[in-house]
């Protein structure tokens, strides 16, 4: 049971900057958890604290129910794969993978077995005698993962391992990492700033911002029910559309209103919205919840927007338009014909709308 538990972890640097503010979460045994967030949000610091490379200022860290705050990195039974691979340049692939085991005085024959087993999993048997300088980025990446595997850790830590690879290779490695997780059956904590990586790899995702956890949830839940405006903005491409306005009761109908818009919300089962009457809110709607025609929509509102740009992605197109000072992106099928600089009707599916309090950013519906 390699469970990793962080309890009220804080990190304050000597000069006073607080990198982490009371972070608590638990990574279950054999779970693949992704820490994601913009740069400087504290995700790498969190990972380095779990690794033991960064001192924990306050709080407790448990691995397998054992407090490890003061254990050295090599005694925590974790392995880490670094962004720039951090392979020893003067050693061959084999030596790179076996170095840590040698230090632990593991018998030579066992080292060989372990390295060969890892090499077989990663299909790198033929480059074991090469030095990192003579390898491609993808090969270095595999060696770095191999070095982590041979140590047979309880927890694998990945620090943006794919960000130095080109787009095509990154896609390949992403799939391989997912496969590897199933093969190794291990607990993995993975840091990335790329939400696609986070969504495709993670069993659960921790979204972080400014040293705090914004939400920890499964990829689907993050997408469908973002806990606050930050998560709603961060997850999903293109970014969610937002309208700023007030919740008001107009003609006994609950409505969303600003200078330019008036959406009738009375058909939604919006009990909680009533509690926020008169408050400033952000209404969020994803591009895929905007349609070019009514279809089977039940609760919708229609706005006539001014088309600015179209991005054709093949199977679909992103339609950028402007409505009374708001920029709106919609995602239409690519066979839907549109003409530039014309008016286009957007049908917003209000059933899929998200509401966030303006002041707190928290989800209110």
């Amino acid at each position: 049971m390699a469970e990793v538990r962080l309890r009220d972890i804080e990190k304050t640097y000597p000069e006073g900057t607080q990198a982490l503010k009371k972070i608590s979460f638990t990574v279950k045994d054999k779970e693949f958890v992704v820490l994601v967030g913009p740069s400087g949000c504290g995700k790498s610091t969190t990972l380095r604290m779990v690794a033991g490379l960064e001192e924990i200022t306050e709080g407790e860290l448990f691995i397998e129910n054992k407090k490890v705050n003061d254990l050295s990195p090599s005694k925590r039974q974790v392995s880490m794969v670094f962004q720039n691979y951090a392979l020893y340049p003067h050693m061959t692939a084999y030596e790179n993978m076996s170095f840590g085991l040698k230090i632990k005085k593991i018998p030579k024959s066992e080292i060989k077995d372990r390295v060969m087993a890892a090499a077989a999993i990663l299909e790198i048997e033929d480059i074991l005698d090469k030095k990192p300088g003579k390898m491609s980025g993808g090969q270095r990446q595999r060696i770095a993962i191999g070095r982590a595997i041979v140590r047979r850790p309880k927890v694998f830590l990945f620090d943006e391992p794919l960000s130095n690879l080109d787009a095509k290779l990154r896609g390949q490695m992403r799939i391989e990492l997912a496969k590897l997780h199933r093969k190794l059956d291990a607990t993995i904590i993975y840091v990335t700033h790329d939400q696609v990586e986070a969504m495709t790899l993670g069993d659960r995702i921790v979204v972080m911002n400014k040293g705090e956890i914004m939400q920890m949830a499964s990829p689907m839940e993050l997408f469908m029910k973002p806990a606050n405006k930050f998560v709603a903005e961060f997850i999903g491409t293109p970014q969610m559309n937002f309208f700023n306005g007030k919740i008001l009761e107009i003609d006994q109908k609950i409505s969303f209103k600003n200078d330019a818009l008036l959406f009738d919300l009375s058909n939604l089962k919006l009990k909680n919205l009533k509690d926020h009457l008169g408050e400033q809110v952000d209404l969020g709607i994803r591009s895929e919840d905007i349609y070019p025609h009514i279809g089977d929509l039940k609760n919708y509102t229609c706005i006539s927007t001014h088309l600015i740009a179209i991005e054709l992605l093949g199977n679909e197109k992103l339609v950028y338009s402007e409505y009374q000072g708001n920029n709106i992106v919609a995602r239409f099928r690519s066979d839907f014909e549109l003409e530039m600089n014309t008016k286009v009707n957007f049908y917003l599916n209000l059933d899929k709308a998200h509401f966030f309090g303006k002041a707190t950013g928290e989800r209110i519906y």
Partner: protein, 272 residues
Amino acid sequence: MINMKKILIYIFLSLAAISFLYPFYWMIVASLSPESEIGGLTFLPTEFTLDSYIQMFSKIPLGRALVNSIFVATLTTGGVIVFSSMVGYALSLMEFKGRNIIFYIIIFTMTLPFQITLIPNYITMVKLNLVDTYAALVLPFLLNSFAILLFRQAFIGMPKSLIDAARMDGCSDIRILYQVLFPNIIPTVVIVGILTFMNSWNEVLWALIVIRDENLMTMPQMVTLFSVGGRAESQLGVKLASAVLLALPIMLAYSFFQKYFIQSMASSGLKE
């Protein structure tokens, strides 16, 4: 036109090279000529003789001095590489209070000429009863601020994640320093090695002060005493022969290291 320019450049460079190399060459030629022939600007000795060398060896125990010099210079070089790299490592990769102040103080000592600390150093040697011992020749030179600076700069340039990875692998600081970092900064190690060896080899003043026992004298000290101190009996050839012998080991060491130096530069492959 271009060819003309090239030719002129080559002529100029050749003249410059000759002006640097000729005195050295002349010294070697003269040391191999009979005493009576020395004096003119010659290119080849009219008569080849090892007379000067034979005379020199019969007059002073140069063999013993050579061994002493090699011993002292090697020990000093080894010490500087080991200890200065440790200090450089601490100053670049470990975090502690006052780190920068210590570094600046160390850099400041570079501005002090050796002559200023000569007397305090000598008194220290006397108090420690180290006068007329090998330790007196080695101990004061075991740490060197320039070497510390070079090592510090080399370590600062290493990717931090390399050190993190080594820590995850269970390396202690000493192991990180010598097994992970050292193999990747060989050019720096070689430069520090060459400079320290040369400085130690050429050090005369200090040796003259702390060593009086002929059995402990280093080569430059012996040669200086021999040339200046009158034992060469004003014979130029013998003086020159001793100077050649003095320069020979350092040239051999340099040519060996230089080859190694270029090799290590070419194969480090430490690119991110």
